[in-house]
Symmetry: C2
Subunit: 331 residues, 2 copies
């Protein structure tokens, strides 16, 4: 309501921050017609930004680390957008208190933009919205886009699918932090950062991590997403982000990784993977919508099937087959 997408795109092209913010709200709201219009219009202007993913468990100091990296990048006169994706929060973005507090660290710097994004419960969720929000920030002309997300379950994999380089942050004394994150982080990390490294236990954490990496290297065939990293051994760096310690080295390592991707001709591979991820999520959201429409539609196919399944006249797999048949017949 009251959202004129072409008008906002005009504003985006003129570098208006308010238009950018409102377009990100369009992405968050997830209205398919508006999103299609938006993405189709801006798509030719995208593909220039570097996308950095930063993930890690709660408490490792991700936000501080992200802000410190942003400050370092600004020192190199690069413009930076931070997209903080929180799969555990149902909050909407835009006006988050946290954003405002974080923005203060960057004063009125027009070349830093920070935005939180939450799932508003719309179809497809954050795995649908995040790559499209990145496209909007890309079209807005930021040199670097940092996607920061708390590492829970699938989110590490999602972030890696969106980023050129994925940084996994850890901290000593988080107990089973590594253990819990293990399944996800080894596969997605291009770079490990042990933050809060002034605490006891940083050395042990690094040793454990190195052991896991070596074991993983020895035991596992590279997974699909891993091909792009062939020839790259994820470095393990230490930081005390709150004091800026170790941050220049992290930024240098991010650059190294990008150089590696370029030199190995693998950056295009990452771009294709990212495109694949985006297409798939858009397609799945469309299917999800169709299924929901079938549930609400006049014929109420799904309603009838549910009644039969609830009455144990039909098992849910047979019902799902019939639902998919109905779905195809309806398109």
């Amino acid at each position: 309501m009251g959202v004129d997408v072409p008008d906002l795109i005009g504003g985006l092209e003129r570098g208006e921050r308010r238009s950018l913010a409102r377009l990100l709200t369009v992405v968050e709201d997830g209205d398919p017609a508006r999103l299609r219009e938006l993405i189709a219009a801006i798509y030719p202007s995208t593909g220039r930004a570097r996308v950095i993913g930063i993930t890690g468990s709660p408490g490792v100091g991700k936000s501080t680390l992200t802000d410190a990296i942003a400050t370092e990048l600004r020192g190199q006169d690069r413009s930076v957008a931070i997209l903080a994706v929180d799969p555990s929060s149902p909050f909407s973005g835009g006006a988050l208190l946290g954003d405002r507090v974080r923005m203060q660290g960057h004063h009125a710097d027009p070349k830093v933009f920070i935005r939180s994004m939450a799932s508003r419960g719309h179809l497809g969720g954050l795995s649908f919205a995040t790559p499209q929000a990145v496209l909007v920030l890309d079209a807005a002309g930021f040199d670097d886009i940092i996607v920061e997300t708390v590492g829970v379950g699938q989110s590490e994999v999602e972030i890696a699918a969106t980023a050129d380089t994925t940084l996994v942050a850890l901290a000593p004394g988080m107990g089973d932090g590594i253990q819990a994150a293990k399944a996800g982080i080894l596969e997605v990390a291009d770079l490990f950062v042990i933050n809060k490294a002034d605490r006891g236990g940083a050395g042990q954490l690094e040793a454990e991590l190195r052991g896991m990496l070596e074991m993983g290297h020895a035991l596992e065939e590279p997974a699909d997403g891993r091909e792009a990293s062939a020839g790259w051994w994820p470095p393990i760096l230490r930081t005390v982000a709150v004091r800026g310690e170790g941050i220049p080295e992290v930024v240098a390592a991010l650059d190294d990784h990008l150089d590696h991707l370029e030199a190995a001709g693998r950056r295009d591979e990452r771009r294709r993977e990212r495109a694949l991820h985006t297409i798939r999520e858009i397609a799945l959201a469309a299917v999800r919508r169709r299924v929901t429409d079938l549930a609400a539609g006049d014929d109420r196919v799904l309603g009838e099937l549910s009644g039969q399944v609830a009455a144990r006249e039909l098992d849910p797999y047979t019902a799902a087959d019939q639902l998919l048949d109905a779905l195809e017949a309806s398109t």
Copy 2:
């Protein structure tokens, strides 16, 4: 490998705990052919158990509360299965240390079964696996199945879709606990429990919650899932689960809610909603699989589209349309 589903179902029917555990691993693994075989075979034997959902933020004492409720139900000679679903953990179930520790509280009681379930990253995730795990526990003959999940984002909604009665647990002094959970909990709760009620702030928490409920009641049209609760005003109870205080009252309130559903003829409605949810998740997982197959298939439709999108020759929405066309042509 080495999994004989009919054999395990035989064991399940004979009440063998090991067969039950292995069938839950089949669910967790998510192999579609095996799952279809399993669910179709057991489905006629399901629909008898009461399903209780328990959700809440980390730190409110969900596990302790769940265990205390299970103990109380055992005192009424009801058999109880607890399915602890953790969307934030990539761990596999079965051998979790936490399960073993928790089982000790129920000694060798054969009428209590506790199992953690985690997303193994398979297609569809926990929203696909959870309702099917509940069916297995239902077929195993448990009177009550408690699905316990940490309340993050979508998970409250998922749990409500699987349960007859959804209990939302809170605790004083959790700061923005209510705020963060707000969007989800008001819609799904049939029952609120303020645990750790011996701490200061329980009264204030209850007052806040009551205020939110009244505001929600005044402002909001009932959402779809809410219809089933018409005429039911979620009670707010207080417990100190670690000492068993307030637990009989919670169990009585769970019974009251079920009576209410039955009396209002609404339990069948919940069953239909649960069936709808299950069918939809199975169908969506199937579509997701087909999309992935298209990416890996000989024709590599998705691979080609990704290349064009990465090269900015095509926008991702148009590519998604073409992917869905290819999907339909291939079935």
